[in-house]
Symmetry: C2
Subunit: 271 residues, 2 copies
Amino acid sequence: MKRSDRLVAMTNYLIEHPMELVSLPFFSTTYSAAKSSVSEDLAIVNKMFQQEGIGYLESISGAAGGVKYIPTYSNENSEVFVSNLCNRLEDPGRLLPGGYLFMSDLLGDPQMVRNIGRLFATAFSSKDIDVVVTVATKGIPLAYAVASFLNVPVVIVRRDPKVTEGSTVSINYVSGSSRKIQTMVLPKRSLNEGAKVCIIDDFMKAGGTINGIKNLLKEFNAKVAGIGVLVEAEDEEEDRVVDQYVSLIKINNVDVKNNHIEVKKGNFLNE
Amino acid sequence: MKRSDRLVAMTNYLIEHPMELVSLPFFSTTYSAAKSSVSEDLAIVNKMFQQEGIGYLESISGAAGGVKYIPTYSNENSEVFVSNLCNRLEDPGRLLPGGYLFMSDLLGDPQMVRNIGRLFATAFSSKDIDVVVTVATKGIPLAYAVASFLNVPVVIVRRDPKVTEGSTVSINYVSGSSRKIQTMVLPKRSLNEGAKVCIIDDFMKAGGTINGIKNLLKEFNAKVAGIGVLVEAEDEEEDRVVDQYVSLIKINNVDVKNNHIEVKKGNFLNE
């Protein structure tokens, strides 16, 4: 196969298999090329991925070595994306009763969701995550987007057990903002003991839901290695029960009466 | 920029922007290359996408022309994928009360979900879909996967309205298998009049849920241009209230007593 042909095929392969160690002999056999040619190809791919701001190839040497595509979004790309998102969220037409924001249009856009996933994956790619955990239902698309870049499974916490999940473990928790007692369940066979997880959700007010997930995860002896929320409500900061997290967007001064909201960048870009 | 560099960047760009018309001048400017070189690059990309079985580039000529990446999965890739899925589903350990199958592990694997999405997108890529519609919660990841390849938004039907969605339209429907009356809601601002939609869900027994979605969509004057279900239960075929659909997998002879299920390929591969 010619270099130009190989570069197209290898670029596609690496994009579809992020965070996965691919051996040089695999490429060599699949695209019938000498190892030295494959190495040169990979150097080109690596250079271009960095130039496009979509990550880099990590080389692991030795007999069990190869390359791994680490899909980290560049600071420049991230800045542009988050600013853009802020502008779209600032529209007062999004204000809903209770200080919530209408975001279904943004969360319904798969390109948008994929890019949000890319940003969180960038934040968590070095944390050796085994599983992405979210709670039904708004967090689901975001969790899958993150998981597709980290190349790990998704586990979904529910508020009601479903027959299609077999036996479950459940806990009760107090919702941070409404102070109501709620239930959360997770299928028993969904998580291995001691799994390293990251929690993804769309919105955090006082953090009661995320705290509930953390407590539920304790039942599985899982370790929470990261928490990512798309939007945090800054007004609730003092009552917050969750302290270590990454947010892309912060809203405050949600003034339903005067139809005004203030949208700022979250802490993601300070990291 | 050199050809080898451009090929990596263009491959990535096209994969991230399926079903989107990209003009030659865009590539020419972005990668500072003559239009004739860009045309040659695209011919290489097109050849390799077909060879890898991941689709092709459609050329649209004229002043408003360009290329569009159509992400259709080859028959060969589809066959392998569906056979593999059948094998994994045949495990009697998956049997749950009521003839349901435990599939959360498969539906929790983002690569698996992405490939399922690719297959449905292949079935519906010529149908000019505006929106992918699904019902919470199991269908959500599949719907996003399909939508990411068709490059259209996702709209989620719920069983209970949420404050974060504004005003909603609701209907009552009769669940096909349990004969219970249930409710479905869709936010008012989620769909434009006359939108062409495809409905995606994970499991179809008698088809009551999908029929309910169809009725709800009528309230929005939406046209259903395609229905895709991951698994259909063949036993229920005679009572089925939905007739035109694409399924990847068929299960029948679900025998909970003897712990046996029969898993076959769905109608997708006959199309």
